[in-house]
Amino acid sequence: MAVGASADGLAGGAATADAGLGALAPESLMVRYVEGDPAAFDALYACTAPRLFGYLLRLTRDRARAEDLLQVTFSKIHRARASYLRGAPVLPWMLAIARRSFLDERRAAKVRTEHLSDDGSLPEPRAEPEAVGADLSEALDRALLDLPVSYREAIELTKINGLSVAEAAEVLGTTGTAVKLRVFRGYEILRKQLARFRRFSE
């Protein structure tokens, strides 16, 4: 279930959490969580977990791995909570931890695994997605998943999660110029994919 598509207002997803805390900025919630307030953690989780899970899901393209990584990410956040720099932006901090968890996991799985079919052969390449009848947003979703990782990550952080170019550059460990370039090239590919989708659907 997709929630909170807008890049502004992180607290939008905090409906399940305490109503008073849900109105607080994630930075304030983080401080209260560090000071030992479990309700603040609930509110913080409610507003950040969907974003982190969506990010990990699109990064891994595998639901089970994304779920494992979300748990690992929150474990790390919990262990490192006292080292959070009071007042610093929370979402880039969490996204960077999630990304490092993903990279660590990928490094640990030294051998790349492929799922074999019943007869032991390698799976067939993924079929082209059915374009006709699907709506534009679904097409965009699929096109995003087909983007090269570096482009997808840059778009994910800036366009979907609302980070500034400088923040995204820190999370990705690169320069602002590189992030802008990746976003630009990613957009170009997405536009081509969507134009193809429109031709199919007309």
């Binding site: 279930m1 997709a2 929630v3 909170g4 598509a5 807008s6 969580y33 560090v34 000071e35 030992g36 307030d37 479990p38 953690f41 989780y45 977990a49 969907p50 974003r51 899970f53 969506g54 779920e67 979300l70 748990q71 929150f74 474990s75 790390k76 956040i77 919990h78 262990r79 490192a80 909570r81 006292a82 080292s83 720099l85 009071r86 007042g87 610093a88 932006p89 880039p92 901090w93 960077a96 931890i97 490092r100 947003s137 965009l140 979703d141 995003l144 979907i160 980070l163 500034s164 400088a166 923040e167 820190e170 999370v171 460990g173 320069t175 602002g176 630009f184 957009y187 536009r191 989708f197």
Partner: protein, 232 residues
Amino acid sequence: MTQPDDLLERAEWPGGVEPPAALSAAIRGECAAGLGKGRRCLTATQRLVRSLAIGAVTIGALVLVGGGMRPGGLAGAGLAGLAGWMSVVGIVLVVGLWAPVGHRASRWGRFALLGVLPASFAVYLMLIADEWIPLASFGAEHQARAADCGLHAIVISAFLTAAMMLVWRRTDPFSPGLSGALVGLAGGLVGALAVGAVCPTHDAWHLLLSHGTLVALLSAAGWLVGRRALAP
């Protein structure tokens, strides 16, 4: 970047995805455990002040324990140099670790500090040296003194770097290696200054080998240690 009839503008972008309820419950259970004992959350400024205080106290303690200041004292140019380099250490920590994400200096800027500062410090040591023994005449006695001084400087710099790493522990998921190198650079500079304050030898080779090389060495060590110590 927007084009006429831009499909990207018309499409609804994907947003967050709600994790499964069972997973959320497990994470909430894990993270709520032990929350009773609340912790203090320091600001970046408080950590910066602690780092600088560690450096200043170490220099002060070394001057006291080490039997006073170097011959000629810290007055005048020596004191100005010490104050100047402590300011540089402050700038390194501000640029490398204090500035919030999105407002830090670029990666290239921080890399440049790692190249420029050890070289500048070596030049500074050459300028304050008042003796220049040719390398061929750098005999066993000089070597022993240089090794002794270098060992003290390494131990003190390593202690300072470790203490600063502890202050900034787990604070940087973005570029922990680079930040660790900057902490090592800061620790190396303070250690070299601290030992330099009480060092009785003013020879250029001695200063370069025992005090100068240490800064680059600690930066490299900081890079390796920081990758683990500074990442959450």
